[in-house]
């Protein structure tokens, strides 16, 4: 390969990388995108729910040909003990709209489609290419990359790091730290295939409607963790994620947790008779606002999961990835239009634009949530779900006990588990962190 100059190099073809590459190439920039997988999506894992608004801002007509599974009409949140669940559930026919708000997607297929749009916009994509090193000039400015394909250096005015949560390049180059065990969760997930009509029947759905279940409780064995079940057209994505620091402390097996969730009496009938076709594992950024690293420097910006941009409270990651990629692309285009060099001083525009978007605003709102949930994980993820589940059983089971005695018994279990001060303190702490 001869030495070639690009306006921009994008590392990674996930949500953030594709958004950045599309934004820049569709505005006339000469973009090279590098992906280490055989095809875009082959290294990527997500639940996955895709949010329409953020994609519309990049590809307004995506509904014409994007591989979408089901649009969501129902969301269930479960708190589980070993034999029961108590939950909240929201279902609305309003979500059966001409431009639905949220869809389930299968990432390997979705990313291939997104990548095709990127290439149609003019970007050059090189797959099966692992970037091994960022190349820097004597002053430290990133000027290009070295790959495992050929010894030659590929140069560009700016490098967009969309390398994902486990990105090696930025950390090896000292641009940001490797995520800490307490700021990432490990999620494992399986794809269970079932006939479309069977899924429709089991979840009470029709014609591409989808349902989401998210669950906390004894399934995570006292750790901060969340299990999920998403309906695709002909498959169900089911998985569970827990904080890596807590997994290490307990040495719980991630697939053991998944198996326990799958065999829970509330879950087992939903996936009965399915054929499992894949088992996947991936990290999720959980550190929130306080874990966001330096986002730009001389000749580089970082976007998406690599920048820890994930809203763990709302379980939104891919839309923050898409939006940060788009905004980085727009900032770079504007700097280029003004013929300014891609240095720290000018690339700060990316951060300013990101801070004015929902991405940083949302993460800032919940800046204290990770610390609260992660330091009180047993209470919030096990004790309360268990107490609520017991309270519900006590409420509905008719056994001749006077209702006043039942109420007293329920109150007593709460006080015994957390004490009056504990209950009050938990409520105040949660309200503060939510604010």
């Amino acid at each position: 390969m001869t030495e070639e100059n690009f306006d921009a190099i994008v590392i990674g073809a996930g949500m953030a990388g594709n958004a950045a590459a599309y934004t820049m190439s569709s505005r006339g920039m000469k973009v090279l995108q590098l992906e280490r997988g055989e095809y875009p999506g082959s290294k990527n894992v997500q639940g996955a729910i895709m949010y329409a608004d953020m994609l519309e801002k990049i590809l307004p007509d995506f509904r014409d040909d994007a591989p979408l599974e089901r649009h969501l009409v129902e969301q269930r949140f479960w708190m589980m003990d070993d034999s029961s669940h108590i939950g909240m559930q929201y279902r609305s026919d309003d979500f059966n709209e001409s431009r639905p708000n949220r869809y389930t997607v299968i990432r390997a297929q979705f990313d291939k489609w997104f990548s095709r749009k990127v290439r149609e916009a003019g970007a050059t994509l090189l797959c099966e290419t692992t970037v091994t090193e960022l190349v820097r000039d004597p002053k430290g400015r990133v000027t290009g990359v070295r790959t495992d394909r050929a010894g030659d250096v590929i140069l560009a005015d700016v490098v967009v790091l969309a390398e994902g949560v486990n990105g090696l390049l930025g950390t090896r180059a000292g641009l940001r730290d490797t995520p800490k065990p307490e700021t990432v969760a490990l999620a494992v997930k399986e794809m269970h295939f079932l006939a479309e009509e069977v899924i429709d029947q089991r979840f009470g759905l029709k014609a591409n409607e989808g349902c989401v279940i998210e669950a906390v409780g004894t399934i995570s064995r006292n750790m901060a963790g969340l299990a999920f079940l998403y309906t695709n057209k002909e498959s169900i994505s089911i998985g569970i994620g827990c904080l890596v620091s807590e997994l290490a402390a307990t040495m719980e097996s991630p697939y053991g947790l998944l198996e326990k969730f799958k065999t829970h009496p509330s879950v087992k009938p939903l996936i009965a008779g399915s054929e499992v076709k894949e088992y996947a594992a991936h990290l999720i950024p959980e550190g929130g606002y306080k874990a966001i690293p330096q986002l730009f420097g001389d000749g580089w910006v970082v976007v998406g999961d690599a920048a820890q941009l994930n809203n763990a409270v709302h379980r939104e990651g891919s839309n923050l990835a898409m939006t940060s990629g788009r905004i980085a692309g727009e900032a770079i285009v504007q700097i280029r239009n003004r013929k300014k060099p891609m240095v720290k001083e000018h690339l700060s525009l990316y951060k300013s634009m990101l801070e004015n978007s929902f991405v940083i605003k949302d993460l800032r709102k919940y800046k204290d949530m990770p610390a609260l949930l992660h330091t009180n994980s047993r209470n919030f993820f096990t004790t309360y779900p268990k107490l609520l589940s017991q309270a519900a059983q006590n409420f509905v089971r008719v056994d001749g006990t006077p209702k006043i005695d039942k109420e007293r018994a329920t109150t007593a279990t709460f006080i015994k588990a957390r004490s009056r001060w504990g209950l009050f303190g938990d409520a105040v702490r949660l309200a503060r962190a939510w604010r």
């Binding site: 999506g41 299968i106 800490k180 009496p265």
Partner: protein, 99 residues
């Protein structure tokens, strides 16, 4: 009712996955050690693909053929130097069909 979960064979799960193994070029190495550190030992439980095992001399060994490149072991053990972690060469490693 508590559901006892025992003897799950992760091999059966990994069997569903597609891999292109880069024979003779493991992308993860464990630093030779007398006794494993706390975090290195923890990998023999936390591993999602059962890559890490304790040998009969109490040392942790890695076989990364079923690795899904999640990075959990990197997050726990790279900083201390217990392990060395690189991506597989382009095109190698796990290839998710669905992801």
């Amino acid at each position: 009712m508590t559901v006892a979960v025992t003897n799950i064979r992760v091999e059966d799960k990994l069997y569903q996955n597609r891999y292109v193994v880069d024979a003779g070029r493991p992308h993860i190495r464990v630093r030779p050690h007398e006794w494993p550190s706390v975090n290195l030992y923890a990998l023999t439980g936390v591993r999602p693909a059962k890559c890490y095992e304790l040998n009969d001399q109490g040392q942790v060994e890695v076989i990364a053929d079923g690795c899904m490149e999640c990075g959990t072991c990197r997050v726990l053990c790279e900083a201390s130097g217990d392990i060395e972690w690189n991506y597989p060469r382009g095109g190698f490693g796990v290839l998710f069909k669905f992801g």
